[in-house]
């Protein structure tokens, strides 16, 4: 007997206990509750339309959670009528909800395919003007997911030129995102082309054509992204790709230093190596010879690299430069001139020179000879490090 009365009762939660106490004590008008609820909507009773569409929405969501795609589609079929809701507020909110749920269903439903998705996305984009951008962006991401890069890019290009609808702040953000992703796709294409190029031999007749193509592409892409990153926001993934392109085409760009910082902070070894390359790259150019930051970075990084036993990296970089860097950066003339102009710069350069050319090089010796009232301690440290880590040092050749 008791089992079944228990069955009837069900678990009693704290809430239930509370309410029964309340109702036991005071007056309760259940019918009043429904009227109170209508105060928000101006005293009119809630229509059954609103109640059933809201229930329909719950069913769709439940089906999605349980991965019952067929059921979800069934309920979605009925939910479309909210596009015609006589309540204007709900009617305006409908397209977004329908897009979110519908795209989810079409993504997973076994009978759905890219074709279906595209039709759906195109339809939803054109319902009113408020949703075009957002849906375009998500549509493009869907296509990306399915590896259809060209289609995605086309989509984004179309969306970029969308000129209708209000000029709200969210619209601005969406446009930026669209441009960003488009840029990213262009970067990807550029990257692929570069890989192609690297496989070609320089003497191959196609090389020049491909190289030219890559170059053009680079400029186009970088132009897009550069405009973008001027806008405040967090653009890291896009910046990385931008900078990489720039590094190829303009290694001396001042962004390279930032790039180096990013690379240095990365956890990947290959990034660390690239970081070194980038620094050397920057200082290859005449315009940067006096850039103290670059020298500071290089000094520090060289030491770090050598301490980390990556002599090979340094040697790699130095090999192509050892013939011309000494006279380009570390001549006697430069030593005198740098010291006169900027002692800090001279010190950094000296350190680098010492590490690369050994303590016997002219630049290093000259700086050391100067009066070091202020930089005394630093010079001493530098001397020690050079002694220890210089690549010329026979001690480190093992």
């Amino acid at each position: 007997m008791s089992d079944f009365s228990e069955e009837l009762k069900g678990p009693v939660t704290d809430d239930e206990v509370e309410t029964s106490v309340l109702t036991g004590a005071g007056m309760h008008f259940p019918w009043l509750q429904t009227y109170v609820e209508t105060v928000a909507i101006g005293g009119k009773r809630k229509k059954d339309f609103a109640q059933t569409t809201s229930a329909c929405l719950s069913f769709v969501q439940e089906a999605l959670l349980k991965h019952q795609w067929q059921q979800a589609a069934e309920y979605m079929y009925s939910y479309f009528q909210t596009l015609e809701d006589s309540d204007s507020y709900k009617r305006q909110a409908a397209p977004e909800i329908i897009w979110k749920l519908g795209s989810e269903i079409l993504f997973y439903h076994p009978k759905s395919n890219v074709e279906t998705f595209n039709t759906f996305a195109d339809r939803m984009k054109n319902i009113g003007v408020m949703n075009y951008l957002k849906i375009s962006l998500q549509h493009a991401l869907y296509l990306l997911h399915h590896g259809m890069l060209e289609d995605a890019k086309r989509n984004l290009s179309e969306a970029e030129t969308w000129r209708h609808g209000e000029n709200t702040s969210s619209r601005g953000i969406l446009i930026n995102l669209i441009q960003a992703y488009k840029g990213l796709l262009q970067y990807y294409t550029w990257s692929k082309k570069k890989m192609e190029l690297s496989k070609l031999d320089k003497d191959d007749y196609a090389y020049n054509a491909v190289a030219q193509d890559v170059f053009n592409h680079s400029w186009k892409t970088s132009a897009n992204i550069s405009a973008l990153i001027k806008i405040p926001g967090v653009w890291d993934p896009f910046v990385k790709s931008y900078v990489e392109i720039l590094y190829q085409i303009v290694p001396s760009h001042k962004l390279m230093l930032e790039f180096h910082t990013l690379l240095r902070k990365s956890e990947k070894e290959e990034h660390h190596k690239l970081g070194l390359e980038v620094l050397f790259g920057v200082l290859d150019f005449a315009g940067c010879t006096k850039n103290i930051t670059a020298w500071k970075y290089l000094a520090k990084y060289l030491k770090k690299t050598l301490m980390g036993n990556h002599l090979a990296w340094v040697q790699d970089e130095w090999n192509s430069r050892k013939n011309w860097w000494p006279s380009f950066h570390f001549s006697y003339f430069w030593a005198k001139s740098d010291w006169k102009e900027d002692t800090a710069l001279a010190c950094e350069k000296a350190f680098v020179a010492g590490l690369l050319l050994g303590k016997g090089c002219r630049y290093f010796r000259y700086i050391l000879k100067q009066d070091h009232q202020i930089l005394g301690k630093k010079i001493k440290r530098m001397k020690r490090s050079v002694k220890k880590y210089s690549i010329v040092n026979p001690r480190l050749s093992y």
């Binding site: 309760h28 339309f49 589609a73 596009l83 009978k111």
Partner: protein, 588 residues
């Protein structure tokens, strides 16, 4: 197509959002960038540019061109008449005799038109300056027998067929043509001639027609004919789309255009509510000054003795309970002709809730037999179970617990399916309702969009799952003896809960508790309230079950149960029961 740019049209194309229009040969605007043709024609736009003064020109212009854009002239009450016609036809298809449509409903409606001064009277409501060319009051006497053939025919729509023709018959109910000018002076418009005015009309003493009220008319007619359909049946048929209601306006003739204010009048987005329709039935009955309805006698379907049997069968309770319900009916006087028959003029016109009353009686009987205090019913079930195990060859004793298990399962399943069907219900019709001409292309475009989306998704749905419409049935649950999966309790015996005392039978249960201790005496519409947590779970289950069956609120049923008890315990009785002791209503 004419490539000339239509400068004056400044709207954005609904398909491509460009503003670049040309004119087709028919004078309609089309978008020169995507070639989307609109329904807007130049004439209409031009008159927009020339405000107020030229409205009459608009009228004249349209009439000359016989533009099908505006359609026929029609009145709101014609719309209602059309709906009533459709409903009567549907009832006929359900098996109701044709007299309901041709005679009863017809007459009620005419009487209504007369009483509300919309037709058949000296000064119909539409007089605005022009004298009516019509009508004497032929229906001043309430004699139903003689009936001139005024409403020309009985097929729908009677009004409109003559609308297109001339006004040859002065007896046609259309009082006279109203000039659109008086209406179009307001900024709101409607497809009907008097839509705006109708929605604003507030005449004292007149019961204004609404779509829910059409069901009141139907019910009155059914009641007059004493047909075997209760109000809850009727409303359930409406919910199941066997009777036109939600988008009844869809079946108006093509030329009867609906828009603007008509939306509010004919565009219903809620199912009818039992209490609402019940109230309207009484209101209309009273307003129409109807005489006493034909008697509800013991052989009528609506008599509680018969209805109780029906509901007992439907919820799988033993036939033997019927004896008890009949006794209760007798004791309370609820089987009396005067109690049951609807008489609008009489003060106590509050009956006619036949279904709710019958069900309330069953609830009372269940309480008498099982007490329903979450205790006794289970003890009695134990006894029944023991007995049944020992005596497998005899007629089994009714086991409340077993019944509860089976019934609860069936009920939960049914309710779940019902909720799912409701969530999937499609409210919007193929014929979209729009605010005005400006709105029309947008509304149609939206509809097109919805249809396309639905088509796309219907390919994702397994077609076998979407079964066809169920055929209407009076019974929602069916139980047969042959079904081995689910026990049928119809033939079970109440021996386990009754005992003999001399010549009479008494219930083993000697206690009772009242659903309502004290009735409210103020002027509110309810005489009692229902707070679930104050009552036993068994009682709640029973109420939920029956309320679902009738699609009513549990509070309504609870109230009716209380009223039955009030009658029952006012009198003394001896035959089947010991004297009951009333118990305070349960509190947790």
């Amino acid at each position: 197509m004419d490539l000339e740019e239509a400068e004056e049209f400044k709207e954005r194309c609904s398909q491509c959002a460009a503003v670049s229009w040309g004119l087709t040969d028919e004078g309609k605007y089309y978008c020169t960038s995507c070639h989307n043709v609109t329904e807007r024609s130049q004439e209409v736009i031009n008159t927009d540019l020339i405000p107020n003064a030229q409205i009459k020109a608009l009228n004249r212009g349209l009439k000359k061109k016989n533009n099908s854009e505006k359609g026929w002239d029609w009145y709101v009450c014609e719309g209602f008449q059309n709906i009533l016609c459709q409903q009567a036809e549907a009832l006929k298809n359900l098996g109701i005799g044709p007299e309901l449509k041709n005679d009863v409903l017809h007459n009620f409606w005419k009487r209504y038109l007369q009483k509300s001064k919309q037709a058949y009277c000296k000064d119909p409501v539409y007089t605005t300056g022009r004298k009516p060319t019509v009508l004497e009051d032929n229906l001043s006497h309430s004699d139903w027998a003689s009936e001139p053939e005024l409403l020309s025919d009985v097929s729908c729509p009677p009004f409109l067929e003559s609308g297109a023709e001339s006004q040859s018959d002065i007896h046609t109910r259309k009082p006279f043509p109203i000039s659109r000018a008086s209406q179009s002076e307001t900024s709101v418009c409607s497809g009907s001639l008097d839509g705006v005015e109708y929605s604003q009309r507030k005449e004292k003493g007149i019961v204004k027609m609404t779509v829910p009220q059409t069901l009141a008319f139907c019910y009155l007619s059914l009641l007059w004919q004493r047909e075997a359909i209760t109000l809850s049946d009727l409303l359930r048929f409406v919910e199941e789309d066997h009777i036109p209601y939600i988008n009844a306006f869809q079946h108006f003739p093509e030329q009867m255009k609906l828009y603007g204010r008509d939306r509010g009048i004919f565009g219903i987005e809620s199912w009818p509510d039992y209490e609402d329709i019940y109230k309207k039935t009484i209101e209309v009955g009273t307003f129409l000054d109807l005489p006493r309805f034909p008697d509800i006698t013991e052989d009528c379907y609506l008599h509680p003795n018969i209805l109780c049997m029906k509901y007992l069968m439907e919820v799988n309770l033993p036939d033997e309970m019927h004896n008890l319900t009949c006794h209760v009916v007798k004791m309370t006087g609820m089987g009396e002709v005067d109690f049951l028959t609807f008489d609008p003029i009489a003060k106590m016109a509050k009956t006619v809730k036949y279904d709710v009353q019958a069900v309330a009686i069953i609830v009372v009987v269940l309480k008498l037999l099982f007490l329903l205090d979450d205790n006794l019913e289970w003890s009695l079930s134990n006894l029944a179970e023991k007995h049944n195990e020992k005596n497998k060859k005899d007629k089994p004793w009714f086991d409340f617990r077993k019944w509860y298990q089976i019934m609860k399962k069936a009920f939960d399943e049914k309710k779940q399916k019902w909720e799912e069907a409701r969530a999937k219900y499609l409210w919007k019709s193929e014929k979209p309702l729009y605010y005005s001409f400006v709105d029309k292309p947008v509304a149609y475009k939206k509809r097109e969009m919805v249809v396309n989306l639905q088509k796309q998704f219907s390919t994702l749905v397994d077609s076998t799952a979407t079964a066809g419409k169920k055929s209407p049935s009076s019974f929602q649950f069916n139980w047969t003896e042959e079904d081995t999966d689910r026990t049928c309790f119809h033939g079970h015996s109440l021996q386990g809960v009754l005992k003999e005392k001399g010549q009479s039978l008494l219930t083993k249960n000697s206690l009772y508790w009242l659903s309502t201790q004290k009735f409210c005496r103020c002027y509110c519409t309810h005489v009692t309230t229902y707070e679930e947590s104050n009552f036993s779970l068994s009682y709640q289950f029973i109420l939920n079950l029956f309320s679902f069956l009738l699609r009513i609120k549990t509070s309504l049923l609870h109230e009716e149960v209380s009223l039955v008890e009030k009658k029952l315990f006012e009198k003394k009785y001896s035959v089947t029961k010991k004297k009951s002791r009333s118990k305070k209503a349960r509190r947790h």
